[in-house]
Structures are given as structure tokens and as C-alpha cells.
Symmetry: C2
Subunit: 199 residues, 2 copies
């Protein structure tokens, strides 16, 4: 599909605002960055910023969505190469841990967005960050081979695993724990997979 000149201009403007916002978040922290500052840094008015992103957290959703999409592509490549699904899941979890460890401050506001009391915002966030979809993609071969427990659907098992990721990473990002996020995530994934596989 060919984009019109106007659409391409909108796309470019959006990506300029996105880049300026993420740079500011990384520099000064998410909470300390205002919409006015993002607008100034990307050379648009405050009103224009809100045309592209109705709230500040929406910029983070674009960031999270890129992360999830790149993980999904990576998972697909690994499965296509014949890597065993469980190994793929551990590797993807480890890549996620890398990204979260690097961008520790961006994670809590992203997680809170998924759990926003406003159902529309929560659903928007949930759709942008379909981590459970990545888990489902990875576990599907095991499901089709009858290796997963059958009293819970593949979608529910995938949700449980993705939700646990969210809470373990949130606890780690917001409060810190003695262990690295890698270890925290690996151990909780281990427990869940032991529970998810047929004995």
C-alpha cells in the first residue's frame, strides 16, 4: 500500500516526536519529562504533540510495541531454524531481561499502563504489548504435540506466563531485589513451565 505524501509526513512527524520523547525519558526520567518539553524538543506545539499521542504514556506504548515485535520476529526465526520451543522461550525471556535491565526506568510506567484502571487505556496497552501472543507462538508446537496440560487452553497458559513476567519485572524494577532480573525471570519461568507441561 502506497502512502500519500500527507501520510508520509505524518509518519515522519510521529517518529520525530517519538525519538525526542524517548531521548528525554532516558535523560531525565519518564515522570520528570513534560509534554511541553517533548513538544519543544521535537519542534511542534503542545497541541500537535497531543494530536499524535493523546497521553505521555502512549509514547512508551510505541516503544514497548517495538520491543515485543522484535522479540516475536526473533522467536519466529529461532523456531524456523528448528530450535526447541522451550529453549526459544528461555532465550526470549533473557533478551527481555536485557532490555528491561538496560531501560529499568521505562518499565514501571509501561506495566502500570497495562493495569490502568481506565479500561480503554488498559486495553490499548494490552493490544500494543502482546507478550502473551509471543509466548503463544512459541508454545504452539508443544501444544499441538500434546505436551501441555489440557485443562487450561494455550491462550490461558500463555497469559499466565506473560502476566508473571509483568509482575516479576515490575517488582524488580520498582523495588529491586537481591537477584538479577535474569535470574528472577528464569526461576519464575521454570516454575510455570514445570506446571504447564504434562508430566
Amino acid at each position: 500500500m502506497e502512502l500519500s505524501l500527507r501520510e508520509r509526513q505524518k509518519e515522519r512527524r510521529r517518529s520525530e516526536i517519538y525519538e525526542a520523547a524517548i531521548a528525554l525519558f532516558k535523560e531525565s526520567g519518564f515522570e520528570n519529562t513534560t509534554a511541553t518539553e517533548i513538544a519543544r524538543a521535537s519542534g511542534v506545539s503542545r497541541g500537535t504533540f497531543f494530536n499524535y499521542y493523546p497521553y505521555k504514556e502512549a509514547v512508551l506504548l510505541d516503544y514497548g510495541s517495538l520491543v515485543v515485535k522484535s522479540l516475536e520476529a526473533e522467536a519466529g526465526r529461532r523456531l524456523d531454524r528448528g530450535q526447541p520451543p522451550l529453549d526459544v522461550l528461555y532465550d526470549i525471556w533473557s533478551l527481555l531481561a536485557d532490555e528491561n535491565t538496560k531501560e529499568r526506568d521505562l518499565f514501571p510506567p509501561l506495566a502500570y499502563e497495562v493495569m490502568n484502571p481506565n479500561p480503554e487505556r488498559a486495553q490499548t496497552a494490552y493490544r500494543a504489548l502482546r507478550l502473551s501472543g509471543v509466548v503463544e507462538l512459541i508454545l504452539r508446537p508443544l501444544h499441538d504435540a500434546g505436551e501441555l496440560r489440557s485443562d487450561l487452553s494455550l491462550a490461558r497458559i500463555s497469559n499466565l506466563i506473560a502476566d508473571t513476567y509483568l509482575l516479576v519485572a515490575l517488582r524488580w524494577s520498582a523495588y529491586g531485589t537481591g537477584r538479577s532480573l535474569h535470574d528472577e525471570l528464569r526461576l519464575s519461568l521454570d516454575l510455570l513451565l514445570t506446571g504447564a507441561l504434562k508430566r
Copy 2:
């Protein structure tokens, strides 16, 4: 410890405000009830209400805290009677499901409070609603008998189980699912316990 007259009066006032607030929440919903209405219904000024409860959600924490304490007492009685720990956990989960099903509208704002982006509010909520403490109490005999996996501490396993309860119940309360909350909770508990027990 003897309470002074002044302290007893404060306790009574607090419980009057609590009863009036919970009655209003059940009648009109949490979101639709204002601090002014709670104050009016309990015969105090708005300022007095905020002296007892600094925010509306704090009233819900008292409610949740009572629920958790009564479950903890029930779990203790069942363990003392010699009921096997895993049975106790399933029964306690079932009692929780009853309470949540009955008070479906009170649960989401309570869960959001535990995940409040303001760390002080989140910690206050977490301390008021120590569900992971109840799980720990129930699983301790299994832990001491060496029946739980040893790469995660009892506290972390208990946290994972309590967190999963939170998210499964929140999803159910806020969005509904095809299954009863009883079934949702039992199935996810089953998966987690399979993962938590030594093979």
C-alpha cells in the same frame, strides 16, 4: 493494652465511617461514591473523613485487610486440625473466590491500589493485604518437609502464587471470562503448585 476513652472514641468513629463507606460502595459503586457522600452518611465533616482515611481507597484497604486476616485465621485453624496443606490452600482460594464473586466491584480498585505507581501507596496496600503471608503460612509445612523446589525461596514461591491470584482475579473482575472465578483460580493454582512441588 487498655485503650483510653479518646482512643476508643476514635476507633468507634473510624468504624462508623468504614461501615457507611462500604455500604455506599456496595450501593452505588466505588467510583460513583464521593468522600463528601461518605462524610455525610457517617455524620462527620469532609475534613474529618480525610483525617481517618487520607484517600478513598484507604477504606477499601481496611476491607481487604479484614478479608485477608479472616482467611489467615481460617487457614491456621485448618492446619491445626491436621488438614493437609494443599487442601487448605485450595479451600482458602475457594473462599477468596466466593468473597470476590460476591463483591466483584470492590476488587479492581483494591488490586490497582497494590499496583499504584506511587510507591508509598503501593507499599501501604501491600502491607494491608498480605495474601502472600497466608500462602507462606500454608506452604511452610511442605517447605520444612523438603517437598517444595529449592531454587526459589518459600517467600518467592508464595509471592508468585499470591500475585497470580491478583492478576487472574483482576482480569476476571474487570473484563469477565467465560469461566467462574472459582474455576479460573483453581486451574491457575493447580499449574503453579505443580511447578512449585518437587517432582
